[in-house]
C-alpha cells in the first residue's frame, strides 16, 4: 500500500453513476473542487448499461456518455476510479476520507486502449457489462465507451502468462502495482451510492441461474440494446429467436419473503420499455407482462403504458408463482389470473425475464467512523425532512442523491443530484443548509 499525501477538496462525491456525475459536474461548474470516487474501473453506473430510457426511448448511453466525458475532462473534478472509500471521519472543518485505489496493473498514463493485451490474453470469463451474456478476457477494456478508457487486469482470473506484458506497445502493463491510499480532506460529502439489483437466485421458484432461458431484466436490457451481445435478440439455451416472452414483474419488490416490501418504482416502466424494444427487433414476438399493479405514475408514463397495450403487449394481472422448465427448455409459468373469474392458469413461454427490484447499498452506513448515518427500515439513506429538503441526511454537510435514498427513475435522480449540488454549495458558502421555519429572518 502506497500512502499518498493528503489532498484537499471542497466536496467528496461518492458514486460515479448518473446522480454522482451530475452533482460533481454541477459543483465543478460552480467553481468548487470536487473529488469523485467510483468503485468500478469506469464511471457511468447502471444507466450506461441500459439500452434506452423510458418513456421517451432516448438512447441511454448518448445521454450519460456526455456526462462521463465531461467528468473526465472537467478541470475542477478529480476522478478516482477503481477506488473505494475505506472510512470517513468527521473533523472540525469538515471530513477526512480515506480512499483505497485498487491497482489496475496497467499504467493509466501510458495505456492507449489499443486492445492488444485483450487479444493476447488466453483467459475468458463472463463479463460484467453484459451481466455474463458475453465473455471478456482477464485483461480487458470494460466496454467501448468506457471512461476512463484504460485496460484493467483482473488478477483473480489471471494465470500470469505475461502475454499482455509482452504485446503491450506502450509498456503499460505493470504487475508490481500496489493499492494506493488517498487521504482527502473535504468540507462536504454527497452520497450517490445508487442501488444494487435484487439477486434473482433468491426467488427459488423462478430458478434463475438454473434454467438458461430465465434472464434478469438487466440482462434483457443488454439483449435489446444496440450494442447487444451477438448482435441479435436470441435466447441463451439454443440461440433461438424468442417468439413468446414473459415478464415477471415485482421480482424481489413488494415481497416480504425476501425482505423488501417496497415498490421499486421503475420495473413496470422498464419492462414496458423492453417490451416495445423487443417488438422493434422481433415484430412477430408475443410479449406478456405478469403484473400485480401497473404503476405508471410519471409524466408520459400512462401514455407509454397505453401505447404498449396498443402495440399488442399482453398484460396479465397475477404474480407468477413458479416457473418450470420443459425438455425443449421452454418454460411453463403458473399464475392466477386475478381479474375476472380468477383461477389457476398455466402458460408456456420460450424466454422469461425477471423484472428485478432495486435494493439499497447498506454498506454506506459503515463508511462513517465517528458519526452515525441514519438509514431507513429497509436500508436506504434516511432523508431527515423530505418536505424541506430531499437531499439532507442526518449528518450536517452530508447530502444524498439518486437511488441512494430510495428507488427512483433517471430524471428524478438527476433532479436530486442538482438539488444536492446546490444545497451543498450553500452549505459550503456558510449559509446554513438547514434553515428551519423559525430561523427565517423576519421580513422575508
Amino acid at each position: 500500500m502506497t500512502e499518498l499525501p493528503e489532498e484537499a477538496y471542497d466536496v467528496l462525491v461518492i458514486g460515479g453513476g448518473i446522480a454522482g456525475m451530475e452533482a460533481a459536474i454541477d459543483l465543478g461548474d460552480m467553481g468548487f473542487k470536487v473529488a469523485l470516487v467510483e468503485k468500478e474501473p469506469t464511471i457511468g453506473g447502471k444507466m450506461l448499461l441500459l439500452s434506452k430510457v423510458f418513456p421517451t426511448l432516448d438512447c441511454a448511453s448518448c445521454i450519460s456518455g456526455t456526462k462521463t466525458s465531461t467528468v473526465s475532462h472537467h478541470p475542477n473534478i478529480r476522478l478516482l476510479t477503481y477506488s473505494e472509500v475505506a472510512g470517513i471521519e468527521r473533523v472540525d472543518s469538515g471530513f477526512v476520507a480515506r480512499v483505497t485505489e485498487k491497482p489496475r496493473y496497467v499504467d493509466a498514463s501510458l495505456c492507449t486502449s489499443c486492445g492488444e493485451c485483450e487479444d493476447a490474453c488466453p483467459i475468458i470469463v463472463p463479463n460484467e457489462f453484459d451481466f455474463g451474456l458475453r465473455g471478456r478476457k482477464a485483461i480487458y477494456i470494460p466496454f467501448d465507451t468506457a471512461v476512463p478508457k484504460n485496460a484493467v487486469l483482473d488478477l483473480d482470473n489471471c494465470i500470469y502468462c505475461m502475454q499482455c506484458e509482452r504485446v503491450c506497445p506502450a509498456d503499460a502493463i505493470n504487475f508490481l502495482q500496489v493499492p494506493k491510499a488517498h487521504t482527502l480532506r473535504v468540507k462536504a460529502i454527497i452520497l450517490a451510492v445508487g442501488f444494487k439489483l435484487f439477486q434473482a437466485e433468491k426467488k427459488k421458484d423462478y430458478h434463475y441461474g438454473e434454467y438458461p432461458n430465465v434472464l434478469t431484466s438487466m440482462q434483457m436490457d443488454r439483449v435489446v440494446a444496440p450494442t447487444r451481445p451477438y448482435n441479435a435478440v436470441i435466447r441463451p439455451s439454443d440461440g433461438k429467436e424468442p417468439q413468446n416472452v414473459g415478464y415477471v414483474l415485482c421480482t424481489g419488490s413488494r415481497d416480504r419473503t425476501v425482505g423488501n416490501p417496497r415498490c421499486s418504482q421503475v420495473c413496470c416502466m422498464y419492462s414496458m420499455k423492453q417490451a416495445q424494444l423487443i417488438m422493434g427487433s422481433l415484430p412477430t414476438a408475443d410479449i406478456t407482462l405478469y403484473y400485480m399493479d401497473i404503476r405508471a405514475y410519471g409524466k408520459g408514463f400512462e401514455e407509454f403504458y397505453r401505447q404498449s397495450r396498443d402495440m399488442g403487449v399482453k398484460f396479465v394481472r397475477g404474480k407468477v408463482g413458479k416457473i418450470e422448465q420443459k425438455p425443449d427448455s421452454n418454460l411453463t409459468v403458473y399464475y392466477e389470473d386475478t381479474e375476472g373469474s380468477g383461477g389457476m392458469r398455466k402458460a408456456d413461454h420460450d424466454l422469461m425475464v425477471l423484472s428485478v427490484g432495486l435494493l439499497p447499498n447498506t454498506e454506506v452506513a459503515g463508511l462513517f467512523k465517528n458519526v452515525k448515518l441514519d438509514l431507513d427500515e429497509i436500508g436506504w439513506i434516511r432523508i431527515m425532512n423530505e418536505t424541506r429538503s430531499s437531499v439532507q441526511t442526518n449528518i450536517d454537510g452530508v447530502f444524498a442523491a439518486g437511488c441512494a435514498t430510495g428507488p427512483k427513475d433517471i430524471p428524478d435522480s438527476v433532479l436530486e443530484a442538482g438539488a444536492a449540488a446546490s444545497q451543498c454549495a450553500a452549505y459550503i458558502r456558510g449559509a446554513s443548509a438547514s434553515i428551519t421555519a423559525h430561523e427565517v429572518p423576519a421580513g422575508i
Binding site: D205, R256, T257, K319, V320, G321, K322, D337, G342, R345
Partner: protein
C-alpha cells in the same frame, strides 16, 4: 343468482381473524398462493379467492364453496406469500368458521365459542368430562379389591347404553351439518338440486365411490400436497403418513368397539365379569394394532406441533391440542388399562377405566364442533367438487 343482491358482512374479517386468519387483511390479491398451490386447479382455485371473499365480507360465498375443504394445509402458500398474509392460516380459520356454521343452531355458537375463547373451551371440557364421571360414580357396582372384576365395577351394558345415546346425538348433529353443507355447496348448481338430479344418479354414485377410495381410504390429495415426497422413505416421514396412522388407528378402534357390541359371540371367550381375553383373539388383535397406530400418529403429530417444524404445525389452537391430546390419552389409557388388568391391580384398573371412558366420551362429544368434523366434511366437499367438475365438463 344475478338478480339477488350480494350480502356483505363488514364484521366477517374480524370474525375470521379471531378464528386464526391472523393476517388476512394484508393480502393484496397477487395470486401467488393459488399459483404455488399443488392442489389448486383451474376449476377450483384457492386460497386467494377465499381470502378475497373474506376481505369483502362475503360469508355466504365461503360457506357455499366446497373449495375450502380441498385444501390440505401444506403451507406452501404461506411460505411464498409476498405479503406474509398467511393464506394457509386463513383457510384453516375459514374451515373453523364453516364447522361452526354448519352445526345446528345451538351447537353453532358453542362451537364458535370453543374456537374463540380458551377459557370457555377449558370450562366446557371440564363440564363435559363431569357427565361421565358423575354417571360412573353414581352407577358403579361393587368394588372388588382382591381381584379385577372390571365389568362388575361398571357393567358393560351401561357403557353400551351411554355410548349409543351419545352416538345417536352426535350422529344427528353430524348429519345436520352434512346436510346443511350439501345444501349450501350445491345451491344454485344445476344437476344437484331439482332438475336433472336423478339422471346423473349413477355418475354420482361412481364419483362417491371414487372419493371414498381415493380420498378417504388412501387420501391421495394429502399425499399430493407434499410434492417432494416421492419415495417411500420420504412418504413415511410425511404429514400424509402421520394422518393415515391416526385415521386408520381410529377406524380400527371404531370397528373393534362396534364388533364387540354388535356380535359378542364373535369373541370366543364370553365377556362376563372381566375374564381375560387372549391377545391373539382376532377382534382384540385388531384393537391392539389400531391402538398402536393411533398412539404413534398422535404422538408424531403432537411432536410436530411442539417443534413447529412445518407451516401446518406452527399455529396450534386449543381445539387442535384438545383433539390430539384426547386421541393420545385414549390410546395410552387403553393400554395402561390392559396392563393394569394383566398385572391384576384392581383399584388401578377401575381408576384407569374411569379415565379411559371419560376421555373417549370427551372425544366424541367435541367431534362435530372441532377439527374432528373434517373427517365428514372434507370427503363430502371433495365429492361435491368432483361432481361439479363433471357437470361443467359435460
Amino acid at each position: 343468482m344475478a338478480d339477488k343482491p350480494i350480502k356483505s358482512d363488514p364484521g366477517f374479517v374480524d370474525e375470521v381473524k379471531a378464528l386464526g386468519g391472523i393476517n388476512v387483511e394484508a393480502c393484496f390479491n397477487c395470486g401467488t398462493c393459488t399459483a404455488v398451490c399443488p392442489l389448486s386447479s383451474g376449476a377450483s382455485s384457492f386460497p386467494r379467492k377465499m381470502i378475497t371473499y373474506t376481505q369483502l365480507g362475503l360469508k355466504d360465498k365461503v360457506l357455499e364453496s366446497p373449495d375450502l375443504w380441498l385444501c390440505n394445509y401444506c403451507g406452501e402458500c404461506s411460505k411464498s406469500c409476498p405479503r406474509e398474509a398467511a393464506p394457509a392460516e386463513t383457510m384453516m380459520a375459514l374451515r373453523r368458521y364453516a364447522i361452526s356454521q354448519y352445526a345446528p343452531p345451538g351447537f353453532s355458537s358453542f362451537s364458535r365459542m370453543i374456537y374463540r375463547s380458551r377459557a370457555f373451551a377449558w370450562i366446557s371440557m371440564i363440564l363435559i368430562s363431569l357427565i361421565p364421571l358423575v354417571l360412573m360414580l353414581g352407577l358403579h357396582g361393587p368394588i372388588n379389591s382382591s381381584s379385577v372384576l372390571m365389568f362388575t365395577f361398571f357393567p358393560e351394558h351401561y357403557i353400551d347404553y351411554i355410548g349409543i345415546t351419545l352416538g345417536v346425538i352426535i350422529l344427528g348433529v353430524m348429519l345436520y351439518g352434512l346436510g346443511k353443507m350439501y345444501y349450501m355447496t350445491t345451491r344454485g348448481m344445476s344437476g344437484f338440486q331439482g332438475e336433472g338430479h336423478s339422471a346423473n344418479g349413477i355418475k354420482w354414485l361412481q364419483e362417491f365411490t371414487k372419493t371414498l377410495f381415493k380420498e378417504v381410504f388412501i387420501q391421495k390429495r394429502l399425499d399430493q400436497c407434499n410434492e417432494n415426497s416421492k419415495g417411500w422413505r420420504e412418504r413415511l416421514n410425511s404429514e400424509w403418513f402421520t394422518h393415515m396412522t391416526i385415521f386408520w388407528g381410529f377406524i380400527g378402534l371404531l370397528i373393534t368397539t362396534s364388533l364387540g357390541f354388535l356380535i359378542p359371540s364373535a369373541i370366543s371367550v364370553p365377556l362376563t365379569n372381566g375374564l381375560y381375553i387372549p391377545v391373539t383373539e382376532p377382534i382384540r388383535l385388531l384393537g391392539t394394532l389400531s391402538g398402536l397406530l393411533l398412539v404413534y400418529g398422535a404422538t408424531r403429530a403432537i411432536i410436530n406441533r411442539v417443534n413447529k417444524s412445518e407451516i401446518y404445525s406452527s399455529h396450534t389452537y386449543f381445539t387442535d391440542w384438545a383433539f390430539l391430546v384426547l386421541l393420545l390419552l385414549a390410546g395410552l389409557t387403553g393400554y395402561s388399562l390392559e396392563i393394569a388388568y394383566y398385572v391384576n391391580s384392581p383399584l388401578l384398573t377401575y381408576a384407569l377405566l374411569t379415565v379411559h371412558l371419560i376421555v373417549v366420551f370427551d372425544l366424541f362429544v367435541v367431534a362435530p364442533f372441532t377439527k374432528f368434523a373434517h373427517a365428514l366434511y372434507r370427503p363430502l366437499a371433495i365429492w361435491v367438487s368432483r361432481a361439479r367438475q363433471y357437470i361443467e365438463t359435460t
